[in-house]
Subunit: 365 residues, 4 copies
Amino acid sequence: MTEIGIGIIGGGYMGKAHAVAMSAVGAVFNTALRPRLEMICASSPASAEKYRVAYGFARATDSWQVLVNDPKVEAIVIASPQETHCDIAQAAFALGKPVFCEKPLGASLEQSRAMVAAAQGHTNMVGFNYIRTPASQFVRQLVAQGAIGDVTWFRGEHTEDFLADPDSPATWRTQGDANGTMGDLAPHMINGALALIGPIRAVMAEVEIVHTSRPGGSVTNDDHGQMMCRFANGAMGQMYFSRISHGRKMGYAYEITGTKGAIRFDQEDQNAIWLYTTDEPEATRGFRKILTGPAHPDYLPFCQGPGHGTGYQDQIIIEARDFLQAIETKTPVWPTFRDGMDVNQIIAAAMASNRTKTWVDVASL
Amino acid sequence: MTEIGIGIIGGGYMGKAHAVAMSAVGAVFNTALRPRLEMICASSPASAEKYRVAYGFARATDSWQVLVNDPKVEAIVIASPQETHCDIAQAAFALGKPVFCEKPLGASLEQSRAMVAAAQGHTNMVGFNYIRTPASQFVRQLVAQGAIGDVTWFRGEHTEDFLADPDSPATWRTQGDANGTMGDLAPHMINGALALIGPIRAVMAEVEIVHTSRPGGSVTNDDHGQMMCRFANGAMGQMYFSRISHGRKMGYAYEITGTKGAIRFDQEDQNAIWLYTTDEPEATRGFRKILTGPAHPDYLPFCQGPGHGTGYQDQIIIEARDFLQAIETKTPVWPTFRDGMDVNQIIAAAMASNRTKTWVDVASL
Amino acid sequence: MTEIGIGIIGGGYMGKAHAVAMSAVGAVFNTALRPRLEMICASSPASAEKYRVAYGFARATDSWQVLVNDPKVEAIVIASPQETHCDIAQAAFALGKPVFCEKPLGASLEQSRAMVAAAQGHTNMVGFNYIRTPASQFVRQLVAQGAIGDVTWFRGEHTEDFLADPDSPATWRTQGDANGTMGDLAPHMINGALALIGPIRAVMAEVEIVHTSRPGGSVTNDDHGQMMCRFANGAMGQMYFSRISHGRKMGYAYEITGTKGAIRFDQEDQNAIWLYTTDEPEATRGFRKILTGPAHPDYLPFCQGPGHGTGYQDQIIIEARDFLQAIETKTPVWPTFRDGMDVNQIIAAAMASNRTKTWVDVASL
Amino acid sequence: MTEIGIGIIGGGYMGKAHAVAMSAVGAVFNTALRPRLEMICASSPASAEKYRVAYGFARATDSWQVLVNDPKVEAIVIASPQETHCDIAQAAFALGKPVFCEKPLGASLEQSRAMVAAAQGHTNMVGFNYIRTPASQFVRQLVAQGAIGDVTWFRGEHTEDFLADPDSPATWRTQGDANGTMGDLAPHMINGALALIGPIRAVMAEVEIVHTSRPGGSVTNDDHGQMMCRFANGAMGQMYFSRISHGRKMGYAYEITGTKGAIRFDQEDQNAIWLYTTDEPEATRGFRKILTGPAHPDYLPFCQGPGHGTGYQDQIIIEARDFLQAIETKTPVWPTFRDGMDVNQIIAAAMASNRTKTWVDVASL
Ligand SMILES: NC(=O)C1=CN([C@@H]2O[C@H](COP(=O)(O)OP(=O)(O)OC[C@H]3O[C@@H](n4cnc5c(N)ncnc54)[C@H](O)[C@@H]3O)[C@@H](O)[C@H]2O)C=CC1
Ligand SMILES: NC(=O)C1=CN([C@@H]2O[C@H](COP(=O)(O)OP(=O)(O)OC[C@H]3O[C@@H](n4cnc5c(N)ncnc54)[C@H](O)[C@@H]3O)[C@@H](O)[C@H]2O)C=CC1
Ligand SMILES: NC(=O)C1=CN([C@@H]2O[C@H](COP(=O)(O)OP(=O)(O)OC[C@H]3O[C@@H](n4cnc5c(N)ncnc54)[C@H](O)[C@@H]3O)[C@@H](O)[C@H]2O)C=CC1
Ligand SMILES: NC(=O)C1=CN([C@@H]2O[C@H](COP(=O)(O)OP(=O)(O)OC[C@H]3O[C@@H](n4cnc5c(N)ncnc54)[C@H](O)[C@@H]3O)[C@@H](O)[C@H]2O)C=CC1
């Protein structure tokens, strides 16, 4: 059991989630490396100090450079806004330090490419947590093992409603492509699609601002977007992303149809997998609601009882385990920066398609 | 109470459904006109006679011309394959007889246009039954009344799995555009979209044969198709149609998001409407599962108890009531042939889009 | 194909349902006997005449004696209040006429016993429609075939909310044991329990009036009741019946656990059966949501497509088919008066248990 | 921020859960007291050492007396089998140390009473975690605030299937009342019933061993049990507990009906509350599926996004927060040992009722 000094940049939504994860991961997964909460960074000295106390870090700073360069910080978690990811990651890799970066990898495809280049030879991971639940990991296995045959159809969505009310004010969230729905929400489900089905060859998309002005100003980034896509393996697909989907709180949901069965999943009931197979006679066929349990990936360390359920925070603990393991074993653990870049490429293709109103080859970007 | 002689062409799936409906509709809805099962027509004398006995018709024939021309046949229900609809309807209208035609209206847009022209001045209806359930009628009212605000997003599907098994043999169902998924299944949901949201301005579609050969021969029509669409009122939308969706038996399902709420519906649980509104405080907001009952359109005549449920056959009884009422009052009852033609136009636009891989203006067809 | 003259007593909720069923049943099931709507009876000449016109009967009367004695009335459906069932049935059997009687059989166990005695040698059926759905018929087969092993546990409920509002006025429904929850709602589920699991040996019950006074007067019959029960095969069970269950519209629901699996059903989603078996490995076990279809009992005559669904009215059509078949074949079709009496016996035992606050042997009643 | 030395007795299922909780709780809840994992105790030196390393404790022991008496152990968590709870708690209280004890409080009512007596003046809590989820805490508030009016009916169950297979071997779990279904599973739901509805006045129960012999020996404790109960506020209720409920993995589920609405909950979908109220017009009434989020108790510290969900481990973190707060503020935090004792009293009454086959007054025990 060796300690490792962790530095986290950002103390908000995800900075906290990662701080908690680093506190808990050792006990949950009996990891070889044990995180020591070394330093936290936030925009101001006051907020950084507040987070330090709250989450139990040794030190605080308002400069990510200070954090990155600190010798006792041996691994870095980037949980600050998308625009900051690229610079921080490059600086950390320059020092040979392992980096876990929240999604989206970069604020643009260009940034993501630069980040992948910089990550060469260094431990790197990207924060696609939803695909790491016991349920979605198991679905990935099922599909890969051919449990539903060859995939013919995929439908994915990532829908939430935090900006569904037209009277919600304009903020930084409503400015800049990287904070729009395609930039901010789409990455999770695009990553999911790639992980579950495989590479996407071409997309045809529509992206739009529905509420162009909100109290406090005009809106410059997209409220929702949809796309049709063609996977490399020939499967056809459809996706939808929205921050204005009234009633949807964590609408990371997908349906996969194959030649021998089908699977349905909705993150709002994250411990249930719906599986349809054709093994039974017609009269007893139906979608089976499988509750996650010790028989599914990464569940048992959280609870010995099936159906007892994991939650959002547990996904981040799973990510922390993976990151520590990648560092310890010097072996990449999926999803890496390359996976993050692949997602940015699809998004770039979708944005291009929206402009040209034509199908766009992903490889052309 | 006046009797009216009914002639039905086709004694199969839908011919029977309409025969039962005509037997029951008087008692259910206390209609002014009371159907008399005058004549049934099928492909052969033997099958026609078999249906006559089974359903209780007075006479049988294997010639639709005989049926159409029979003076005691005062109203005609077309429940034969799509290719036959146009000729029969034209012949009936030439004699001034009311016609109810199963979906799709014609086997092509051209046929549908000819049928609408022929229908001028005569009672005409088309068989979109799914939009006539108590649930979907009520949803239509909710949307029209603004219960969920302005519609921003629509997703619809009509998915079944009767050809999901790649080893299902090639039959007449796997030949000819009118029997493919776009021709045969898509009409219901396209009609639903038009009824719930309004006219569609443009579509971008993909349609394909997944299993190009099946035991017994090659397949010439589409297994599934998808489209993105733009409604005249500005709403964005997505649809999917499939006969190879393992696990889906009656996947006529839609989601409608508006600026003030959302609605979800799935025909596989046809007596439930899911409504989300923002009237409650955040802590008690959620999709409400509303069970149909006497408070919803056309439910009470079937049952005094809410939640007791209507079924497939009841939809056809509702259609029969509408048809009789249209005849009696000489006032068109929705959906008419024009609605059927509108659906064919969208399908034609989708097929064109699939060929050109571009957005297609519906009006251009 | 032979005609048979049908007389229905009662033109309300169930009188109408049976009139519609008799109109439709021939076409649906291609029955050997074909109903002719001969005479309808209601409390007053005016209402009887109104129903005659609405449902399409040849004649009307306000005297059930006239109906029963009419030579053209060859089979009788009793759809009048529980207090009337016994006299009518006895009179009809005295003339050797077949009788279908709505549930509960008699207004008391004594009446039911008299009715069974009178029914000896004559065609007799009782109106437990919920057990006759395609779904519950199939569940019955599954249990009987041992699909879930030996039954260890049963939970049943029949809950509705038509009197849940304490401000709903006192009416005839709130007077008299036979109209209380135990008298009026419990019979369906008790019959279900007997059909699915087998005879009940002993019960321990609690029955009570929750809202003892309502606008318009005091209430003399029970709002809800519960019981624990022991089946003859050793299984343990629990039931609950209520007319004050807010939110429940047709809460005829049951759960059956066996040594090899389990089944769940809720009439509010009447076309779905939830089946859990242990054939699969742990990781893919789950309750399967099976949608009714042509593979299930009595579904196909209503629709060729699975998942398209049957509804409340269809249950009554199934009953009509059974009644006609029992008449034609002179062979009893389940459930007969004896089954109705068995239900009354359980209810009598429950009422006794409620008084004595002890377990009551059903055989002791 | 003050450190506090934590000692945990037991390193299995719950010992681990509490170790993880103590590692994470500071960062999650920004607690004033910060746990230091001081010592862990298990049955053997080897297992204790294994747990020490895995969970990150400073020291290990195989003697709970050593742990309890250690001066650096300032607060004690009992996560060892039920038979050990009483002795440990008494020893700890004798030293004035705060104790958190897993459910059930004692292995018998007598033990629980002794434990409550010993706890006088000391910080004490009992581990009913299911009532501490954001969902069930919110339900408790709703009921208390009268959101569904006066409660008329309660149904609760705690059902699992870990011994549903008759071929599962006999182990220590199948020996001794405290490890039977009434002793081991019932406490959670009985506590839930008391918390949600209020005190229970009398019970009528049935408890039984279904599989009296299993591979490896005979079974001496109950497989399932049911009871009818009467609450002090007059409400009627029904409960069921089982370890042989095929298909149920975490069947902690309840339904509460009131005079103005109803609530349904199932721990297998732990982030959803189903609420029915009568505020809307009939046509739009229905059970609302409310997803937990920042608007619900104790959710926000885990995640800023609604619908993102908490899991089993999070419940234990909430308990840890409560325990630390009770210690810090020297103010009891619900549920205390008294609540644990109340549960044991109901169980004792149920066992007595099962023996006598009569209603048993809870106060008589
Ligand atoms: N995986 C997931 O489920 C989620 C991922 N995210 C991602 O996590 C990242 C952070 O988002 P949130 O936590 O929601 O944001 P937040 O606004 O809650 O927190 C951002 C934090 O970054 C700090 N920060 C901002 N600029 C900084 C700078 N230049 N230097 C140092 N610190 C700086 C702020 O002080 C704050 O503590 C984003 O990339 C976002 O896309 C966000 C939410 C969920
Ligand atoms: N609204 C709905 O839910 C459904 C609508 N349909 C539509 O109903 C129509 C009939 O389809 P099904 O009933 O499924 O077909 P089917 O194959 O079950 O029955 C077709 C009937 O038409 C008769 N027929 C065929 N050619 C004929 C001709 N030239 N002259 C006279 N009779 C002829 C056949 O003898 C047969 O009785 C189609 O247009 C179909 O698209 C079908 C199924 C469901
Ligand atoms: N199987 C099921 O799902 C249901 C069964 N029922 C049963 O059906 C029976 C009728 O109930 P509803 O139709 O709800 O009642 P209702 O009040 O709607 O109709 C009762 C009918 O009986 C007639 N009637 C009353 N007394 C009569 C008399 N002495 N002679 C002739 N006619 C008389 C009335 O005029 C009226 O037409 C009851 O036994 C009831 O328990 C009722 C509802 C559902
Ligand atoms: N709140 C909840 O959800 C749950 C509560 N429990 C409760 O937690 C307690 C522990 O149960 P599990 O963790 O499932 O058991 P377990 O068998 O997984 O672990 C028991 C632990 O106690 C230790 N132990 C046994 N006897 C001991 C002794 N005399 N001295 C010191 N250590 C001893 C064992 O070495 C082992 O580490 C029980 O009271 C049980 O009822 C158990 C499971 C779930």
